[in-house]
């Protein structure tokens, strides 16, 4: 039998995730291919520090959004709003972390997108991910505001889960980006 029509949000989101993964994989391939091929410094080993704290924050946000989903599924809207806000906060911490890292790289280490191949590939891959985090945060915030105005109810839990899939995807991609940029090629 066909999948239920109620599942179409999830199936659609899976399709989007596949398409997005294809975009990310090309940027990751480019990063790996150009690793160590820069003709001038600085190199990743000289300037990159593993962002342990902000990464843990981002990964935890997958857990908090899961708790929020569960809360809404059981109709506990207040609890949902709390965990949803926590998710936003963790996402913002991650973005601020990336911003501080970039500020340091640009103004202290002199690494910009046009400095060398490392700069080009680093800023585009990490930037592509940060862009997705930003889009996710905008979505999260809109839903949170709707919750504050009392527009989000238990009956929306299916749709909220569809949006949460996107956030989980953004977190999962960070596992790959983090490993490639900060561990494998550093």
């Amino acid at each position: 039998m066909p999948l239920s029509a109620n599942l179409r949000g999830k199936v659609g989101m899976w399709c989007l995730i596949i398409a997005e993964s294809a975009i990310f994989s090309i940027f990751i391939v480019a990063y790996l291919y150009y690793a160590g091929k820069s003709l001038s410094g600085p190199t990743p080993a000289q300037v990159l520090d593993v962002p342990y704290f902000t990464s843990i924050c981002l990964f935890s946000s997958s857990l908090t959004i899961l708790l929020a989903e569960k809360a809404l599924h059981h109709g506990k809207v207040k609890r949902f709003g709390f965990f949803w806000f926590l998710t936003i906060a963790l996402g913002v911490i991650f973005l601020v972390g990336t911003g501080r890292e970039w500020y340091r790289l640009i103004y202290q280490d002199g690494l910009t997108i046009s400095t060398n191949l490392f700069g080009t590939t680093f800023y585009s891959l990490v930037g592509l991910h940060a862009f997705h985090v930003t889009v996710g945060l905008i979505g999260l915030t809109i839903i949170w505001l709707l919750t504050l105005f009392g527009a989000v109810k238990q009956e929306h839990s299916e749709r909220i889960s569809v949006f949460a899939m996107y956030w989980h995807f953004v977190d999962a991609i960070w596992v790959v980006v983090l490993s490639v940029v900060y561990f494998i090629t550093r």
Binding site: L3, L7, V11, G12, A19, S124
Partner: protein, 562 residues
């Protein structure tokens, strides 16, 4: 239930023609529509508009190349013409046309009322439309609004380093990048929608192994769009970063690689061929059985072949790059994978012929185009196997032989199937038949023109004529062949004009079609012509691959044999 008939809902009365309403209101309805049938038609018409524009560009090029030492257009204009011709035909003619077919027919064929995400569907169409407008705006915006006319001139695959700011000054290349980027977002949206619709909205009884082959092949097409457009999007983003932010992805002077652009482009580029040809297969797989009065031969093998084409097509891209100079291991791999894709494609050809074998073939125009498709696609495949062999490709890569080969695929295969599809489904969409006599004129003129142009185009290629040259010296032995090639264009152009005339004439004067003029078997022929906005008053329930056969032949229904 065991001997019950498939439950098909009662028919509804056809809605009134729109011509009785004010034009502004009709236009407004079309612009705000989220109905899959209207969006399908908009995709289709938009594609045809660009098909004509791209055709005019091709005709100017052929006029330029008809005789040696011609000066009809300058070299700069010639570069713009072939770039715009290629980009237009692939992204803004072929893709909208195949999406149009998928949009219009998939929900009807699976017994759904609309696509899974109707508003996303409209968004996808308008994004594609915007992409085309951005691309063509480059004619006036390429050097800023004050400059003289311009357009992208880097070729449709835009190899680095030609696209770097040093060699492509002005903004024409940026319009090319952004136009394709934007239409790519639209394509992803549409593919996502087609996929979700097929997975989630099939009517009761429509198991995966009962879906019409048209739907199966569009499923694989949608899957390919989802994985193949991403690399193109990524590559275009990298090119934008290189051009605007001083990045070094394709900048060899800073350690970047021009070859990696080729890889990224063709990782998209070859699946793209199958994104376009699978919907053509889809049309042929519906038309041939109906006009042979036999069910499709080897349904499950056809599905398996389609899926394996989908997978193999993701691993053949570098056969576009044999002349670049790859390692012999890479060459061997891509020779083997490219030869391997000929196997499922060959299976399909055999199955279509097997469907016709022993059938009562009715040579309506739609069927004529399918027969032409079979012969021409076979030849296209054979030259494809020749070019898949690396040493042969070293000799003929970037020659007119290659141009002849891929036009054989696209014109001889895809466009022929699209013509077949319009003659076949026009009665459903409009409620009137297309004129058969005019159709036969269209068929013969176009087929003769096609063969004049593209059969003879192989020869100057074998004689060493490279592609993309704006003129050539006399006395190279290329003149006669080029003249014949250019003469063929006239026949094709007249054929296409007759087709457009037929579409318009039949809208007003065609014979009234009724719901099922071809005595066909798939669900779309059960509803009215044209279908009402909601497609089916009641969702149908089916019990076999040919629900309408079951309905018409209660004494010998298909489901007894499944």
């Amino acid at each position: 239930m065991a001997d019950a008939q498939p439950i098909l809902p009662p028919l509804v009365i056809s809605p009134e023609r729109e011509s009785s309403r004010p034009l502004v209101q009709v236009l407004h309805d079309w612009i705000i529509t989220v109905d899959h049938k209207r969006l399908g038609l908009m995709y289709f018409s938009y594609g045809i508009l660009f098909l004509v524009i791209g055709g005019v560009e091709a005709s100017i090029m052929r006029a330029q190349l008809a005789v040696a030492n011609n000066h009809l257009v300058s070299p700069e204009v010639f570069n713009r013409l072939f770039t715009m011709h290629g980009t237009t035909m692939i992204f803004f003619a072929a893709m909208p046309i195949v999406f149009g077919f998928a949009n219009y027919l998939v929900p009807l064929m699976i017994g759904a009322r609309d696509m899974a995400f109707p508003r996303l569907n409209a968004w996808g169409f308008w994004m594609s439309a915007l992409g085309g407008i951005i691309l063509y705006f480059s004619f006036i915006g390429g050097f800023g609004l004050y400059g003289a006319g311009s357009a992208p001139d880097v070729g449709w695959f835009a190899y680095a380093p030609l696209t770097s700011p040093a060699f492509s000054v002005g903004h024409s290349t940026d319009y090319w990048i952004v136009g394709i980027l934007v239409s790519g977002f639209g394509s992803i949206a549409t593919a996502l929608n087609v996929m979700t619709t097929i997975l989630c909205l099939r009517c009761p009884g429509m198991k995966l192994n009962r879906m019409p082959l048209f739907v199966w092949m569009n499923t694989v097409m949608a899957a390919l769009v989802l994985v193949a457009i991403g690399p193109l999007t990524a590559a275009q983003l990298m090119l934008l970063i290189d051009r605007y932010l001083g990045g070094h992805f394709f900048d060899t002077q800073a350690g970047g690689s021009a070859v990696i652009w080729m890889h990224f482009f063709w990782i998209f580029g070859h699946p793209e061929v199958y994104i376009l040809v699978l919907p053509a297969f889809a049309i042929v797989s519906e038309v041939i059985p109906v006009f042979s009065r036999k069910p499709i031969f080897g349904y499950s093998i056809m599905v398996a072949a389609t899926v394996s084409i989908g997978f193999i097509s993701l691993g053949v891209w570098a056969h576009h790059m044999f002349t670049v100079g790859m390692t012999s291991y890479a060459n061997a791999f891509f020779v083997a994978s490219t030869a391997a894709i000929a196997v499922p494609t060959g299976i399909k050809i055999f199955n279509w012929v097997g469907t016709m074998w022993g059938g009562k073939i009715i040579y309506k125009v739609a069927m004529l185009f399918c027969v032409a498709f079979l012969c021409q696609f076979l030849i296209a495949g054979l030259t494809g196997i020749m070019l898949a062999s690396a040493p042969f490709d070293w000799q003929l890569g970037n020659s007119y032989f290659v141009v002849a080969h891929f036009h054989y695929v696209i014109l001889g295969g895809i466009v022929m199937a699209v013509f077949a599809g319009t003659y076949y489904w026009y009665p459903k969409v409009v409620g009137r038949m297309m004129n058969e006599t005019l159709g036969k004129w269209h068929f013969w003129l176009f087929v003769i023109g096609f063969h004049l142009t593209f059969d003879f185009m192989h020869v100057p290629g074998l004689l060493g004529m490279p592609r993309r040259i704006y003129t050539y010296e006399a006395s190279r032995g290329w003149e006669v062949w080029n003249l014949i090639v250019s003469i063929g264009v006239i026949f094709q152009a007249v054929g296409v004009l007759l087709w457009v005339a037929n579409v318009i004439w039949s809208y007003y004067k065609g014979e009234i079609a009724g719901n099922d003029p071809w005595d066909a078997w798939t669900l779309e022929w059960h509803t009215t012509s044209p279908p009402p906005e909601y497609n089916y008053a009641e969702i149908p329930v089916i019990r076999s691959r040919r629900p309408l056969w079951d309905l018409k032949h209660p004494e010998d229904p298909d489901w007894k044999y499944e």
